[in-house]
């Protein structure tokens, strides 16, 4: 694209995004390290909310609202129900991490190092102008709706069938009075 400015003079967008990113990453870390199951779910809410903010900064406002509605609203509630139904201990419990922790840390760290190296090498000069002087922003509900129903109708319909199938599957799996023949 056009010539990228220096990393040493961040714009306002960048500062906000970085703050939100730090919140998201920190909350994510807490999700995978906390000793309380319910706290993990709540930190997940924080993380997903911060991500929604990131989407907003990136001008994808419709996706951001959907994120808040579905993830923060539905998914986390679902998770909390799951925690409740499996009678997970409320409060601190020492054994939430399995013995695999060291291996997992090594693998995750290595993944991070490799990916950061690769993307830093690949996207060092990629830049997008988010100021009003930049290109037209297309993240509104109107634009997304037009795109979905103009160009993406067929995947959208397939997805609705998938949802239905998942719904039926979940019901069959969770009900105890349905037996296989």
């Amino acid at each position: 694209m056009n010539e990228a400015p220096s990393y040493l003079s961040p714009t306002g967008h960048e500062i906000v995004f970085l703050l939100l990113g730090v919140v998201a990453v920190g909350a994510a870390l807490l999700v995978v390290t906390t000793r309380q199951v319910v706290h993990a779910a709540l930190w997940l809410v924080v993380c997903l909310g911060a991500l929604a903010g990131c989407y907003l900064v990136l001008t994808a406002e419709f996706v951001a609202w959907v994120q808040v509605l579905i993830y923060v609203g539905a998914v986390v509630v679902l998770l909390l129900f799951g925690i409740m139904l499996t009678r997970a201990p409320i409060g601190r419990s020492a054994d939430l991490n399995s013995g695999n922790r060291v291996v997992a840390a090594v693998v995750a760290l290595a993944t991070a190092v490799v990916l950061v190296t690769v993307v830093a090498d690949g996207f060092r000069h990629a830049y997008v102008d988010l100021s009003p002087a930049g290109p037209v922003k297309q993240g509104t509900a109107e634009a997304v709706g037009a795109a979905v129903f103009r160009y993406w109708v067929l995947p959208f319909e397939a997805l609705s069938v998938l949802l239905l199938a998942a719904l039926i599957g979940a019901i069959v799996l969770s009900r105890t009075d349905i037996r296989g023949r």
Binding site: V31, C54, A60, V63, A74, A104
Partner: protein, 121 residues
């Protein structure tokens, strides 16, 4: 805005998700970690959609689809976890060892003769 910022955040979230999947014992926590990984991908999709100025909004639409699929996955996944919990009274991943090879019988009985002769079962 430098695309590097969202991409690096996405990488970090994804790695944290990997750690959670590999290290957590409770199945529901593992599902949460999977959600983290999905969201890392979503962040990538949004960032590249903006950077590439896609007229079809492929990135944003696809991230919507991912959110929907993630919800479906979570619903089915939780149903499975509940079914496991009903049968086993536990959702600890390292206690669900049906994939393991059964222990050789002679070790359990202390019958070392077969092992001494070097014959398999």
């Amino acid at each position: 805005m430098h695309i590097l910022y969202p991409v690096v955040v996405s990488v970090l979230l994804f790695s944290i998700g990997i750690y959670g999947v590999l290290a957590r014992r409770n199945t529901i926590l593992v599902l949460m970690s999977v959600e983290l990984m999905l969201n890392a991908v979503n962040l990538n999709l949004i960032a590249f959609n903006v950077w590439l100025e896609d007229r079809l909004l492929g990135g944003q639409v696809l991230s919507l689809f991912v959110i929907v699929i993630a919800a479906a996955e979570l619903g089915v996944g939780l149903a499975i976890v509940l079914a496991v919990f009903r049968n086993r009274r536990t959702v600890d991943l390292d206690r669900l060892r049906d994939l393991s090879e059964p222990e050789p019988e002679h070790e359990g009985r202390g019958d070392g003769a077969a092992a001494k002769e070097g014959v398999g079962r």
